[in-house]
């Protein structure tokens, strides 16, 4: 199977190393240093954090190269960067820059409303967002080596990340009790390749690491999605839109490790200052939702 060949195993390998960790959105080298010092296992370079993209509107593109390069030169941890959905030339540029991971992200304005990037030809690994199992498996079929639940980026509201993680886990469980004869119909309904559906049915999990993103703002939020099955977390606006990013970053790192230990979570949750302002998802007009970008 193509998704288990040597190059693909290397791509998944780096995702394995990020497990139990926190990947933090940063927009410049100064923030990247704060993230690294707080214990981030990687940083995501972008032009504006999602809540600013939401506020300011306009077209959100790949971050300026000078910013990404500056971040790569400043920190020793892996550096990821976002490309627009379907924008394989932004991805080519990021690969030439040698970023460690490319996020084909719904947070940026999609460049192609029908096609995602064919990720197999790249030697740089990709992470993609998903709201359900079918979407996750379609991205893996295209070559994504890591899935993250989309949540609703820049909302400071965990409800969508919870919904998406629960959905994926529930749909995977459902496959494990089906007979082999029932799997082609399941694949048809999920709109996903049969070989990947069969793999999930046999193993009860995704063939690539499954992380969570979109709305994580507190240590307890991080612990919640880890309890639900996330193997690591992405935190976007949650850190640098709070009033004490350093303390909050450290606390969320701690929560990702001790998500099963309420006493440690209590320690992590103290003296955090004020978190980012959160949005009620119901108050966001449908046209402004980021999670519905991509298919």
């Amino acid at each position: 199977m193509r998704f288990l060949d040597e190059q693909f195993r290397l791509k998944i390998g780096l995702a394995e190393m990020l497990k139990g960790g926190v990947i933090m959105d940063v927009t410049n080298a100064e923030q990247a240093v704060i993230a690294e010092k707080a214990g981030a296992c990687a940083v995501m370079a972008l032009e504006r954090v999602p809540s600013d993209i939401r506020r300011d509107g306009g077209v959100a593109r790949m971050a300026p190269i000078s910013k990404i390069r500056e971040i790569m030169q400043t920190v020793s941890i892996p550096v990821m960067a976002k490309a627009r959905i379907g924008h394989f030339m932004e991805a080519k540029v990021l690969e030439s820059l040698k970023v460690d991971y490319i996020d084909e992200s719904e947070v940026l304005t999609p460049a192609d409303e029908e096609h995602h990037i064919d990720k197999h030809p790249f030697s740089t690994p990709f992470v993609c967002g998903a709201r359900n199992l079918g979407e996750a498996l379609r991205r893996i079929a295209e070559g994504a080596a890591m899935i993250r639940t989309k949540g609703e980026a820049g909302s400071g509201n965990i409800v969508e990340a919870v919904r998406h993680m629960r959905t994926i886990v529930k749909e995977m469980k459902a496959l494990t009790v089906l007979s082999k004869a029932e799997l082609p119909t399941a694949a048809k309904n999920l709109q996903a390749p049969l070989e990947l559906v069969e793999w999930v049915a046999e193993n009860g999990k995704l063939p690539v690491p499954n992380f969570s993103a979109g709305g994580i703002a507190t240590p307890a939020d991080a612990a919640l999605v880890m309890q639900l099955g996330a193997e690591a977390v992405f935190v976007g606006s949650g850190i640098f839109k709070s009033n004490d990013p350093e303390a909050r970053a450290k606390a969320i790192v701690k929560a990702a490790t001790y998500y099963n230990d309420p006493e440690k979570l209590l320690e992590a949750s103290e003296e955090l200052g004020i978190g980012m302002f959160g949005l009620d998802i119901k108050q966001i007009p449908e046209s402004e939702l980021l999670q519905t970008r991509g298919w």
């Binding site: 040597e6 195993r9 290397l10 390998g13 780096l14 394995e16 190393m17 990020l18 497990k19 139990g20 960790g21 690294e36 010092k37 707080a38 214990g39 981030a40 296992c41 990687a42 790569m72 020793s76 941890i77 892996p78 690969e95 040698k98 970023v99 460690d100 991971y101 030697s123 740089t124 690994p125 450290k250 790192v253 701690k254 990702a256 490790t257 001790y258 230990d261």
Partner: protein, 193 residues
């Protein structure tokens, strides 16, 4: 049954847990100092060494780990190799100093320079049949002390070494189905009793 702790602060500790079980021992996840009391040896997994270092200090585990390593075997892979080394470069970083190694971080380059290679050990290492070595943003061992024995090399650089009770790999034996290197570590657990 031998009990092997796997430091579970961050990284691919789950892959190590499964590798320990494949090699025929019981695996225990270690997140707190008291978890060290009941294990015969400890694996420090791959992951981000800077992240693990922060968490080790936050939980007062750094000194406890050094004390543990002075009495019992430790197996460090990749980030684990960096943490147990005597000296870390690029950038300079604090380490436990349990194994007489100088290690350079991310020395092959970035993720696009990660690779899988086949390596063969010399006669007597028990690794004469090819070992699949997965290097991911791996460090390079630039110097080994006189008590360090090299078991595998890649491009002339040591990538699997032992020093007394300790074992160090700059690659990831936990990411393949081959249990030989974990078994090698389990043999050391006997030696130390």
């Amino acid at each position: 049954m031998k009990r092997v702790g796997v430091l579970a602060l961050q990284g691919d500790f789950e892959a190590h847990r499964k590798a320990v079980e494949r090699a025929g021992a019981q695996a225990v996840e270690v997140r707190k100092a008291e978890d060290l009391d009941t294990i015969d040896g400890l694996i420090v997994p791959g992951g981000e060494s800077t992240t693990m270092l922060k968490l080790l200090h936050a939980e007062n585990l750094f000194e406890r780990l050094r004390e543990f390593g002075e009495a019992k075997p430790i197996f460090g892979t990749c980030a684990g190799a960096i943490l147990v080394a005597r000296e870390v470069r690029s950038p300079k970083q604090e380490s436990l100093g349990l194994v007489d190694l100088t290690v350079e971080r991310n020395a092959y380059g970035r993720q696009v320079d990660s690779r899988i290679v086949q390596l063969e050990g010399e006669a007597g290492t028990g690794l004469e049949q090819p070992v699949e070595a997965v290097f991911i943003r791996a460090p390079i061992i630039r110097h080994t002390g006189s008590d360090v024995r090299t078991l595998l090399r890649y491009n002339g650089d040591p990538v699997l070494v032992e020093q007394g009770r300790h074992l160090v790999a700059t690659f990831h034996p936990e990411l393949t189905g081959d249990a030989r290197i974990h078994q090698k570590f389990l043999e050391k657990l006997d030696d130390s009793r």
